[in-house]
């Protein structure tokens, strides 16, 4: 089986993942809509996943892909609970603007 990374190069994948992760960080800081922030968390998780798959191909080892399965399951669980929390917040406050969530402020 041909190692695809010999053509592309692992460093291209590292740079792509870094840029994706930075875009996720930027989105978290830039937007105040809680759903968009969830999407940015998904982008960051995906960048990490992509690097795991790239290095799994690099080492020709299947364990990296198994870790990606676990990450996907955790991401699905996190999104389900997080969106349920958002729905509960929206029902109580009437918006999901994160600046309105200051009930826990000391």
């Amino acid at each position: 089986m041909v190692n695809v990374l010999e053509i592309i190069g692992i460093d291209s994948y590292i740079y792509l993942s870094v840029i994706l992760f930075c875009i996720g960080v930027f989105g978290i800081l830039y937007r105040r809509n809680a759903i968009i922030m969830f999407m940015c968390i998904e982008i960051m998780l995906n960048s990490a996943n992509m690097l795991l798959v790239a290095f799994s191909t690099y080492h020709q080892d299947a364990s990296g892909q198994v870790f990606v399965f676990f990450t996907m399951a955790v991401a699905a669980a996190e999104v389900a609970v997080g969106l349920a929390i958002l729905v509960a917040i929206f029902r109580n406050i009437g918006s999901i603007d994160i600046d309105n969530l200051k009930n826990l402020k000391g």
Binding site: L5, S12, F26, A62, F69, A80
Partner: protein, 169 residues
């Protein structure tokens, strides 16, 4: 050929991720995020991880995006009632984006020399469904069961949290 494919897919991924953040309408953001997820699945298929690509499309573009779109429509978010962040916050966000990017990229470039030309070439099959299933249910069977419990608990938790309170208003 593969290189051109990689660059097209990368442009698509980064562009749609940026558009996810910059779209005013949350539904447009969700649709751009679907485009981004599909291009990431394309990357997986490019890396010969076909099964993972299919699972990615099913989990992310199927389950998670449906959940997000459903929530957005349930909340009836409009573009008009979205208040913009103050200008200072945006500038600080951009500055910290640049700082994190420069830091991580420089670390990656510095680490570049250590893994140059070390591509493993075992020649044996390591990522078909057959091999993945054997590893998942042999070496990693305890985490696998834990993930099953986690998914069940998160489902119960989501139902409990989003249920309407009947006693206390």
């Amino acid at each position: 050929m593969i290189e051109i494919l990689f660059y097209i897919l990368s442009t698509l991924t980064i562009g749609s991720a940026v558009l996810t953040i910059l779209s005013k309408n949350p539904i447009h953001s969700a649709i751009w995020l679907v485009v981004s997820f599909f291009s990431i699945a394309g990357h997986y298929i490019l890396l010969n991880a076909q099964f993972l690509g299919m699972v990615h499309i099913m989990v992310y573009s199927g389950a998670i995006m449906i959940l997000m779109l459903f929530t957005i429509m349930l909340m009836n978010l409009n573009v008009t009632n979205e208040i913009q962040k103050p200008f200072v916050t945006k500038i600080v966000a951009t500055i910290s984006f640049c700082l994190v990017g420069v830091l991580l990229l420089s670390i990656a470039m510095r680490a570049n020399q250590s893994f140059e030309l070390n591509y493993a070439q075992t020649g044996e099959d390591f990522q078909s469904v057959h091999v993945l299933g054997k590893i998942l249910l042999d070496e990693y069977v305890v985490p696998f069961e834990m993930v099953a419990i986690l998914l069940l608990l998160s489902m119960i938790g989501a139902v409990l949290i989003s249920k309407k309170d009947k006693k206390v208003a």
